[in-house]
Amino acid sequence: MIAVEHLRKEFSYYKKATGIKGSLQNVFHRETLTKEAVRDISFSVEKGEMIGFLGPNGAGKTTTLKMLSGILYPTGGKVEIDGFIPWERKNEFKRRISIVMGQKNQLWWDLPASDSFYLNKCIFGVDDGTYRDVVTELAELLDVRELLNVQVRRLSLGERMKMELLAALIHQPDILFLDEPTIGLDILSQKKIREFLRIYNQQRKTTVIITSHYMADIEALCRRAVIINQGQLVYDGQLGDINRVLGERKLLSVKTSGEVNEKQWENFGRVREISAAGAVLEVPQEKVKAVLGAILSGLPVEDFTVTEIPIEESIARFYQKEVATI
């Protein structure tokens, strides 16, 4: 289990004015400033849970993951993972976790990925039989069996990320931190990695915390989302409940046989899209029935659909701080 309480991280940096004058001033005097990357975050994750850790760029997601994995010391707060404090960096703790960062790699560039797997086997002290079984099973699941003996530098980005994942799982960690594991990958590779993570989590009950800017990753894998913005936690709950927290609204797409002007549409709700063939309106859920009745009786309706507001859009509202912190 992961328990995070009032976690904080500050970085100090110094200000520099542009140009050579600023650089010269810096030689003699530097004004030190402090940036609060993570501000008083608390949440917990149960064993086997897979949660989406979301936020805009610079929100503090990666910094939080680095503190959870013991890479960074926090400025304040507590984290306990299966009884361990991550930044004490005990070997027993390190054997239980693994972290994959989409923008960093641990594989030896000039050698086949299987050599890097073997090095991890030696570092983690995995026995020969388990090592063989794990590599065979994961290579099969990730569809990379044929690529195990190809030098890493000759692999595509997608293939390389699959190998990075495999390397990170050689020691069969209980907890897996994934920081944008599908960044820059094509749709097929993204899908394959998502599928792999889903099966892996189901089979091994590995606890997974994943950050991603691709909502498809989060929707496919996580039931729960933790959203942070500017270092603060703004949402922690079921992914499907985000719309409700934001004030449940529906999208009403109406197709008409004749043109309806904008003023008329505005009588029924907020107009999001309009064309000669119809419009898309945003309507509070409790009013959907009434609005629909009025539209059907007053406008030349050919067809209509009622849908949820896309989750991506709801999350973007958290990013834009349209809602108060919960």
Partner: protein, 265 residues
């Protein structure tokens, strides 16, 4: 705490992988060896001049000097084997590349400072250094019984540990000041103070270089031991300094690591 066997096994893997990686780029491997041989020839010219002039430095005849310079070249080979890792450290800190090493259940210092080994730089120095040591030893008529051979090898091993610990220290400053090209240049220049026996330096220079920043211990003590010029105190310092500086480097490494702030993603 992991045992010696565990680290020897890992070292074996690093040796194998470094060699495999180097051989992927044959031309670069050969070019590296050629450049290193060029540097070595420059160092050998000093000895050639001394031989030609028949100059002695204090009690050191040209044959003794050949032995000392040979030891220096040999130690340079050992140092060059892992030096690339030291050089890469500031960049790794700046780019946040330590992240994926920190989470491994192994000594981070070992992993970061030993993972890539440069055989192209090591081999010419090691071969030439060995030949010069053996030749100088024989020509100078120094004792070659098991006691002296063991003592010489002991001080060579001490020198290896001391050069690792001492020259790692300036690189650790990168955790605080990130960019340290100037400091590193000074440190590297200090290594070259050893390209001649320490006896060419004045009394105070020798004392500072032996007891404050013990760079002379690295390459002079094996030869001085053979010549019977190391008193008991010096012998103890020769054995203790590597341990002392290794402990200092370990402490500083652990302190430095707390300053590690990674890099933004």
């Amino acid at each position: 705490m992991r045992g010696l066997g565990y680290y020897c096994r890992l070292m074996g893997v690093f040796v194998k992988y470094s060699l495999m990686s180097a051989l992927e780029y044959r031309a670069n491997f050969i070019a590296g060896m050629t450049v290193e041989m060029g540097w070595m020839i420059i160092k050998l010219l000093y000895v050639a001049i001394i031989y030609k002039a028949g100059t002695s430095i204090g009690i050191l005849t040209p044959d003794h000097i050949l032995l000392f310079v040979g030891t220096y070249i040999f130690m340079t080979g050992i140092f060059m084997l892992y030096f690339g890792n030291f050089n890469a450290l500031p960049g790794m800190i700046q780019q946040g590349e330590l992240d994926l090493y920190i989470v491994k259940p192994v000594s981070l210092q070992f992993l970061v400072t030993m993972r890539r080994l440069e055989f192209a730089y090591m081999l010419p120095n090691l071969v030439a250094g060995t030949v010069m040591i053996v030749t100088g030893w024989r020509l100078a008529g120094l004792p070659a019984d098991p006691f002296f051979v063991a003592g010489f090898l002991f001080f060579l091993v001490c020198g290896c540990l001391l050069s690792y610990s001492l020259f790692l220290l300036p690189y650790l400053l990168a955790f605080w000041i990130v960019s340290l090209g100037g400091i590193v240049d000074i440190a590297n220049a200090m290594w070259d103070f050893n390209n001649m026996p320490s006896m060419i330096y004045g009394k105070w220079g020798r004392r500072i270089g032996t007891y404050v920043l013990p760079i002379f211990v690295i390459t002079n003590f094996p030869g001085l031991f053979l010549m019977g010029e190391l008193g008991l105190g010096a012998c103890l310092w020769g054995a203790g300094a590597p341990v002392l500086f290794f402990i200092i480097s370990r402490r500083l490494w652990k302190m430095a690591l707390k300053k590690y702030s990674s890099a933004s993603s």
